[in-house]
């Protein structure tokens, strides 16, 4: 299975195709903890809050939720620029090895998970169909109980048929 097929399999799946495991996932990230003088004072460990196994092919697993940037700034004049946002990592594994990493952005004070655009604009941001499908799946599985497509449109994103990743 190549990366295109892998991502297509995931992006085209439904929430019922996945079985979740909450913490502990034993896939930790260690980051230096620093004081106000920028000196390292120790290590902080965090992990994805959610692990998912694809029921039709258990070689495919996902881990989602680790915060990448806690204070992500969406530039004006986007509709979500004035509210808190943060980015989360989605790690996609094949036979337990990291095959692909995607970043999702949590907008509007945790109202929706969206794909992270290459460049922010008010309207007309093009998102490849597979990337849209991946973000929508994760939103439906692990995001807030809101309607993905409403926020996707509100943010100024639109689907395009373009090869990705």
């Amino acid at each position: 299975m190549d990366l295109q097929d892998y991502v297509k399999t995931v992006a085209d799946s439904d929430i019922g195709d996945w079985t979740p495991i909450l913490r502990p996932t034993y896939r930790h990230r260690f980051i230096p903890r620093k004081n106000a003088k920028d000196e390292v004072t120790g290590l902080a460990a965090d992990q994805h809050p959610l692990h998912l196994t694809f029921l039709h092919d258990i070689r495919i697993t996902l881990a989602y939720g680790m915060v990448d940037i806690a204070n992500y700034q969406i530039p004006s004049p986007n509709a979500f620029a004035s509210e808190n946002a943060r980015t989360h990592l989605l790690d996609c594994f094949w036979e337990g090895r990291l095959a692909f990493r995607e970043t999702l952005v949590n907008v509007g004070r945790n109202r929706c998970l969206l794909p992270l655009p290459e460049e922010w604009a008010e309207t007309g941001m093009e998102v490849p169909v597979l990337r849209y499908g991946l973000a929508r799946l994760i939103h439906d599985l692990a995001g807030p109980p809101t309607i993905f497509d409403e926020y996707f449109s509100m943010s100024g994103m639109q689907r395009v048929n373009r090869r990705w990743p």
């Binding site: 929430i15 979740p20 909450l22 439906d140 692990a142």
Partner: protein, 118 residues
């Protein structure tokens, strides 16, 4: 849980944090010396001022969603069950940190908490 000054709390523009607990005279319980982004101070002040009430509300919401009828409804709905588990695990973890109570993972409930029984 350690004792805390009852809410509602409010913070004024000079950074004084006041308790307006019903049945008591308003009392100043602290003051904030701000640093960081000036644009975020109003938001930070509102977050701090609401924290006592937020904690109490979250505690009640957790108790409510741990009732067997609600657990059954959530776990029986594919659209909600995974995201609910994740959201409620985050809520449990925050509440445990704030209150110092060792709360069981949802959908198990704290058997000693009988507020909604009877």
């Amino acid at each position: 849980m350690p004792k805390y000054t009852p809410g509602p709390w409010r913070m004024n523009t000079s950074g004084e944090l006041w308790s307006y607990a019903r049945g008591n005279a308003p009392a100043q319980i602290g003051s904030m010396s701000w640093s960081g982004d000036a644009m975020e101070r109003q938001g930070n002040a509102q977050m701090i001022a609401a924290s006592a009430e937020l904690c109490e509300c979250l505690d009640e919401v957790m108790l409510l969603v741990s009732q067997p009828e609600v657990v059954g409804a959530i776990l029986g709905t594919d659209r909600l069950k995974t995201r609910a588990q994740m959201i409620l695990e985050n809520a449990r973890s925050v509440l445990s940190e704030v209150t110092g109570r060792d709360l069981p993972e949802w959908p198990r409930r704290d058997e000693s908490d009988t507020r909604l029984e009877g």
